[in-house]
């Protein structure tokens, strides 16, 4: 009488249990639970539903995915999920794709090629229906080669790939022209009278950093301003990096404005400048890039380039839905705009 059944017995309620209780075949249960178009008598359907309810039946998606070859999952690669840029993008993606029944794997590469590749392989192994590159490409030859063959295999299996960043991977894309947006901010600064403009670079091994850098150089050229290496420093897209880079530029180059290629670095720059006795924007103007949620609440409200992060995610999800529905789609192009706040004014006389 004792021990016939341990209390910790793993009870997995399967189609079969429901079928037995409802006294029908598993095929029939499957049809009603998966909302198949195959006809089922109303009375039968009711019995099945009741049995499923009573047993607390939850169809096993792994089994379903295995046979249908559709997992209803998507894998998204970000650099760092604690970076608000990626949080907002993923939120946009999730908000839009949720209703279609897709679930998200999210993975932070930490800009480490090995790590990103490991995640890409894992996503492939989990048979995600789509691979999303929310993170910029890394500039590394081995990485490039590996990504190309992985994505190639993935697509030959019927997977779809979506690029939401400056990444070389072949696939559908939501484009944001980082070069043009960077150049637009340089124009804005020059138009206000700045001639000595410092620039804080992102990590050099990121494609997006290089694109923004190119935008900066080209705009300078177009405006007949020379590119002075003393005015350029690396800030690794972080607050601390922004602080260091700003102090370096200010002590070596006497800029009237500093343009940080993301908001985190701009915020660091403002803080460092303020703490070292510079007035912002009176002594030196500071501009950012991204317009993250908190840009408005920086030590000085930040004038920056708005990247529609949430919408990039959202438009990506819309694209995905249409592709999965078999539609022919075109890439989407999103543009930036300059948000004027208080961190930029004309240079001191």
């Amino acid at each position: 009488m004792s021990n016939r059944r341990t209390p910790s017995a793993r009870e997995r309620v399967s189609l079969r249990a429901v079928a037995e209780l409802a006294d029908v075949s598993v095929a029939t249960v499957s049809r009603v639970m998966s909302h198949s178009s195959h006809p089922v008598a109303e009375e039968t359907r009711k019995r099945v539903l009741e049995a499923a309810e009573r047993l607390g039946f939850q169809p096993n998606q792994l089994a379903r995915a295995l046979v249908t070859a559709r997992s209803q999952t998507v894998g998204v690669i970000v650099h760092d999920i604690s970076d608000p840029y990626f949080g907002e993008l993923v939120k946009g993606l999730e908000d839009e794709i949720r209703a279609d029944g897709y679930r998200l794997f999210v993975a932070s590469s930490d800009r480490n090629p090995e790590r990103e590749l490991e995640y890409l392989r894992a996503f492939d192994a989990y048979q995600v229906d789509a691979l999303v590159f929310a993170a910029s490409a890394l500039e590394d030859a081995d990485y490039r080669r590996e990504v190309e063959t992985l994505v190639g295999r993935f697509e030959s299996r019927g997977g779809i790939t979506l690029v939401l960043s400056d990444h070389f991977a072949a696939g559908h894309r939501v484009q944001f022209d980082n070069r043009a947006a960077t150049a637009a901010m340089v124009d804005y600064l020059v138009d206000r009278g700045h001639r000595r403009i410092g620039f804080i670079l992102g990590p050099p091994d990121l494609t997006v950093s290089n694109h923004r850098h190119e935008g900066f150089r080209r705009a300078l050229e177009r405006r007949k301003l020379s590119y002075d290496p003393a005015l350029v420093a690396e800030g690794s897209f972080s607050i601390e990096g922004g602080k260091r880079a700003a102090m370096q530029i200010v002590s070596a180059g006497e800029p009237t404005a500093i343009f940080a290629s993301n908001d985190l670095m701009a915020i660091g720059a403002i803080r460092a400048l303020l703490d070292n006795g510079y007035r912002v924007p009176e002594d030196v103007s500071v501009a950012g890039f991204d317009d993250m949620l908190l840009a408005e609440y920086a030590p000085v409200p930040l004038t920056t380039v708005r990247v529609p992060t949430y919408d990039i995610g959202r438009e990506g999800a819309i694209l995905l839905r249409r592709i999965l529905a078999g539609e022919d789609v075109e890439d989407v192009r999103l543009v930036g705009e300059i948000v004027e706040r208080r961190s930029v004014v004309a240079p001191p006389a």
Copy 2:
């Protein structure tokens, strides 16, 4: 000669293909690919590995999970992945659990009971090995009942549940005492001479909001200060909410300090106060809660309660690893501390 094989043919490389190429059974291939302890001759292993390499074989995790009843995935529920609080927590979790081969599903409930339940059911359907409640419980009777039965079913199936927030769900937990930490900040304020302290509440349907509110009331009581409803307003854990609440409190209650129950609201409060001609902290002090990355870079560097968000995630992952390894574990307790910056001083004379 044409059309024998469309270029888009879905080529899924399976164990069987590798077995054929290596001229062994699928059992043998399985053993080498899954690093089984079952012995395989060195020469055979080599042949299998080569064949797998040549074909670009990637084991199908869905199939593996189906038979082993271990998916190597965990599902985490947050309120909003674009909120840095959750981003940091998820990062801590991911950084630590990654090496064990676990992958993360992440889902934002938007504090909507239906939505959270939908995600919980989905995670169950995907056979996650663990369910992680990173988000506080919602105060809703139906929600409570449903969560309890879902979690019950999940655990009876052998799933493990991990609670990293103020949530009633039964399971292993990493605890942070929100009541005590809130009370500590009240003590800090009172010790500096404040008697009229405003309080900005989080959303009332969140357990964590209520716990912080309780901490506030109790500390007041302990310090023999009365609870004045004119000094309390709701701010929904958002910047905008913090702005509104701060102005409401300041115009109705003449506080010398405002304690916002999260940093986002504190930042909103500071900005609103500043923009309305109040000096912070000279006219009114402002304290926050969380110590998010950007708290130091608020319009006035924020004095706040540090919640070890990243570590909560990290400790959760460590707990998870030990549980999955079959160890007996105890809940973890993490404590807050007050981080003094520039937004709090003694009240004006």
